[in-house]
Subunit: 477 residues, 2 copies
C-alpha cells in the first residue's frame, strides 16, 4: 500500500522526544563510565555503518540503538567533568533546551523581517552581555556599535580583518580587489585562525607579522612599534592588529592598552580575541586584564567555550557598525522589504560572512536567565579557584614544575623529566580514559595544559586527575 | 545561604525537557493560529524585554512564559505549511531529535581525534548522499574527493572560490596575497553570495563578470566564451565559473555540461550552486538537469532548505580533496596528535573556513534513516506536483500569467495589472497572516514567487492560498 506521508506525527514526536530527553539525562548521569578520549581506531566507526543508505525508513528504536552501539564508542566526551583538553566547549541543560526550541521553531533570521524576534532578542542579549562584562558603551546597539552572534572566533577574526581591509582602502578593495600592500600584526602566540583569516581574505600569510613575546608569552609592544616603522619605511600599509586576551597555548594576556594606543596612532583596526577568557570578564576582579578595551574596534569571545552555552555561539562586538555594514552589505531584489528600507532595523546578514542564520540567541538568553549574573560569576570563580589549587599542588610537587603563572583557568606545567617523558605521560593518562588533556610547545619545550572549564568539573575531579597524573608518572618513570 | 551550584539538575532537565518537547508538538499542532509573517513593528520585541540582565537566576516557567508572550509575536513561521517565501528552510521531527542529541553530546569535531564518530559519520552520510543523488564517483571519500558539511551555501561558495584562487596561483596567494589579475564568472541571476565571496576573498566585485542570461534566465554560454576571450586578451586570468542549478529568483538551471566544458578548456574551477534544487536529484527523473555534473570541481546543496533537515546544514563536495586541504590546512602545535600525523584520518577543520564544528551529521543521518530514500523521493515529488498544479491554475486564470516554466517547485507568476498592483497584492496577502510569499524582479518587472517546499505543505494549503490570492486581487482591483 502506498503511504500518504512519511513524516513523524506530533504524537510520535512527543513519545520519541521524551525518550531522547531521558537519553541525554542518562548520559550525563553516567558520563563517568565512558573513556573521556574515544579509544576508536581510524576507520572503525565508519566501518560499523552500512555502505548504503536505507531504501525504506527505519524506526527511532533502531536508530537510538545504533547511536548507543556504533556512534558512542567514537565520541570524545567534551561534557565529561574530566575533560581538560584544548579549551572547553561546554554546555548546560538550559542551553540545550534553548537550542531545542530554536530547532523546533526553525526560523532563519537572515534579515529582520524573516523573524523580528531573532534579530531583536540577539541585540538585547548582546547589550546585556556588554554591560555584564564592563564593555565600553560604543559596543552597544544603543550607541554607534553593537553585537552579533557568529559561529566561531575564527569567523569573527576573519570578519574583523575584512572590515579592517575595507576601512584601510576606503572600501575599495571590495570592488577592485586588493591593490595596496597591507600588513597585519599578531604575536607568535596568537591563535592560528588569524593566519587562516589573512590567507582567506587575500592578504597572504607573508604579510602577517608575528611579533615576538615576552617571558609571560605576551606581545612585546616595543617590537610591535619597531616592526610597524620598518614596514612603513618599506612602503607597506599597516592596517590591523590583534591582541589576545588569553592565548590558546598558555592563556597569555597581551597588553591591551599599549597595543590599542599603537593601533590608534597608526590607524590600524584593533581586534581583541578573547575567545575563551573573555567569559571571565563577567567577574569585575578580572577586568584589569583588559584595561584599554575601549580602544578596540572589535572584540570577540565564545559563550560556547566557558559560558555554559552550547556550540556554536561566538559574540562579536564592534564600535562602529557602519563600517561593518558597509563591508558586508548586499541587497538583491529578492531580499528587499519595507522594514529594511525604513532603516529602522538591523539586518544581521550584513554583519557577517554568511547570509542564513540560526536563532542562536535563544540558548544564550536561557543561559543568562537561568544562571543570572550571580550564577555565572559563581561557576567562573569556582573554575579559577580549582586552577589555583592545581597550581599550588604543582608548586608543592618535587617532580613537576609550573611553566607560567595562570591568569585564569588554564594551568601550564610539565614533569621535570623532559619532553619525551611528558608526551609519554600525557598519552598514558589519556589512554586510561579517566581524563583527557593536551599539550603545547612553549620556548621549544613540551608543556602540558590543564584547562579547567567544563560545566560540571568540581574539586574532586581535579584532585582525582592530579592523583592519576602522579600515579602514572611514577609507573612510567 | 550561599548556593553550592547553580546548574539545572538532571531531574529538572527530565521534567523541563519533556515540557519543551510538548511545547514544540503543541506549536506544530497549532501553527495555523499564528500569522505566517510576523506582524511585529520595528523595536517592539526589544522593547518588551528588560533592559538589564537578571542578577539572580529565573525559573524555566517564567522563561517559557516570556517565550510565549514576548518572543512568539516576533516569529515569522518558516515551519508553517503556508510559508512560500524565499526558499524553504524546513525541518522535520527526526531532524530536531538528531540535533537535540548533538546539543546534548556537545562534541566539537574540529579534528578527527576530538570525536572520531563526528568525522566518520559525516563522511559516511555524505558518501550515501552522493550515491542517492547520482553524483560522480570522484565526489566520494573512497575516491579522490569527498564531502563536508558547511553552514550555508554562501560559505561553500566562498570556500570554492578560495580553493580556486589557490589552484590558479599555484597555492601562492595564500602566502603572498593576491598578485595576479583574477577574474570569475557567474550569471546575472546567480545568488548574491557569489558577489559577497568575491569581495571577501580579495578578488573584488569588479572582477566578477555577470554573464547575461537567455529567455529562461539561464547563463548564455556564447557570451561566457566571448567574455573569457576578452578578459584573456586584456591580460586577465579567468579562474572560476559558477553554474546555478536553480537560481534564487526564478529557479533557472544553467547549462551544466556546456559551462563545464568551457571551464575545463579554460582551466577554471567549476562550482555548482544547487542550494535549494539539489535535493530534487534524489529523484532520478530530475537528474537530466545536471547532465555534465562530472565536470564540476565542487558542488553544494542545502539539506536545510528542502531535505527536511534543520538549519544549518549545507553539503559541499569536491572532486579533489587535496586542493581543498592544501588551501585551508593549518596545524599549530596545540592541535597536533597521533591520528592526524598517521595520515589515516580526515581533519575536517582543513576543509573549510572555521576551526570549530558542531556534530551536524547526526540530524542528517536521522533524516535519511527515518524517511529512507523512498520517503524523501515521495515528499519531493509531492512538492513538485503541487507546483505543477499551481502552474496549471495560473495558466487557466484570466488575470494572472506564468512568468517562466518551473523546472521544480518554484512558480514565478504575476497579476496582469502591473508592478504596483503585484506589490500591493503581495503585501495585502502577507498582511492577512494566512500565507507568506515574496517577490523578485525579472526583466525589470515585479514577479511573485510561490516557493512550495515546506515539510508540511499539502494540496489544501496551496489551494487555499491560491483562493486567497485571487480573493484579495479582486478586492484591491
Amino acid at each position: 500500500m502506498k503511504k500518504s506521508s512519511y513524516h513523524m506525527t506530533t504524537e510520535q514526536f512527543r513519545t520519541e522526544g521524551k525518550k531522547v530527553i531521558d537519553w541525554i539525562a542518562d548520559y550525563y548521569e553516567n558520563i563517568d563510565k565512558y573513556p573521556v578520549l574515544s579509544q576508536a581506531k581510524p576507520g572503525e566507526i565508519k566501518a560499523a555503518l552500512p555502505e548504503n543508505p536505507p531504501q525504506t525508513g527505519e524506526s527511532m528504536e533502531v536508530m537510538m540503538c545504533d547511536l548507543d552501539e556504533k556512534i558512542m564508542p567514537g565520541i570524545t566526551h567534551w561534557q565529561s567533568p574530566n575533560f581538560y583538553a584544548f579549551f572547553p566547549s561546554n554546555t548546560s541543560f538550559p542551553s540545550i533546551l534553548g537550542d531545542l526550541i530554536s530547532s523546533g521553531l526553525g526560523v532563519q533570521g537572515m534579515i529582520w523581517a524573516t523573524s523580528p524576534a531573532a534579530t531583536e532578542l540577539e541585540t538585547r542579549v548582546l547589550d546585556w552581555l556588554a554591560d555584564m562584562m564592563g564593555m565600553p558603551e560604543k559596543f552597544k546597539s544603543t550607541s554607534t556599535g553593537g553585537g552579533v552572534l557568529q559561529d566561531t572566533a575564527s569567523t569573527s577574526a576573519l570578519t574583523a580583518m575584512i572590515a579592517a581591509r575595507e576601512r584601510a582602502t576606503n572600501f575599495q578593495s571590495n570592488k577592485t580587489g586588493i591593490q595596496q600592500k597591507l600588513v597585519a600584526y599578531i604575536s607568535t602566540q596568537t591563535h592560528s585562525s588569524l593566519e587562516k583569516a589573512a590567507k582567506i581574505c587575500g592578504i597572504g600569510s607573508e604579510n602577517l607579522r608575528m611579533i615576538v613575546v615576552d617571558e609571560k608569552f605576551a606581545m612585546r609592544t616595543d617590537l610591535l612599534k619597531e616592526q610597524i616603522q620598518k614596514d612603513k619605511a618599506a612602503g607597506l600599509t599597516p592596517f590591523f592588529i590583534c591582541a589576545a586576551l588569553g592565548t590558546t597555548s598558555s592563556n597569555a594576556v597581551d597588553p591591551v592598552r599599549k597595543i590599542g594606543e599603537i593601533a590608534r596612532k597608526e590607524n590600524c583596526w584593533f581586534h581583541i580575541d578573547a575567545a575563551m577568557s573573555g567569559t571571565a570578564m563577567v567577574c569585575p576582579e578580572f577586568r584589569h586584564f583588559q584595561d584599554g578595551v575601549e580602544l578596540a574596534d572589535s572584540y570577540c569571545f565564545n559563550p560556547h567555550k566557558w559560558m555554559f552555552t552550547n556550540f556554536d555561539c561566538d559574540v562579536f562586538w564592534v564600535g562602529n557598525r557602519e563600517e561593518l555594514i558597509n563591508t558586508f552589505s548586499i541587497l538583491p531584489e529578492y531580499l528587499r522589504n519595507q522594514a529594511t528600507e525604513s532603516g529602522q532595523v538591523f539586518d544581521y546578514r550584513d554583519w557577517h560572512v554568511q547570509l542564513g542564520r540560526r536563532f542562536r540567541s535563544l540558548k544564550l538568553w536561557f543561559v543568562i536567565r537561568h544562571y543570572g549574573v550571580e550564577g555565572l560569576q559563581f561557576h567562573i570563580r569556582n573554575h579559577v579557584k580549582l586552577a589555583q589549587n592545581f597550581t599550588q599542588w604543582i608548586n608543592e610537587s618535587d617532580d613537576f614544575e609550573l611553566f607560567v603563572e595562570p591568569p585564569f583557568n588554564l594551568v601550564c606545567f610539565r614533569h621535570k623529566a623532559g619532553d619525551d617523558f611528558n608526551m609519554k605521560l600525557m598519552n598514558a593518562v589519556n589512554a586510561t580514559g579517566k581524563a583527557y588533556f593536551t599539550h603545547t610547545k612553549l620556548n621549544g619545550q613540551v608543556v602540558l595544559r590543564m584547562s579547567i572549564g567544563q560545566t560540571n568539573t568540581e574539586e574532586n575531579h581535579v584532585r582525582d586527575t592530579w592523583d592519576l597524573i602522579r600515579e602514572i608518572a611514577r609507573e612510567i618513570s
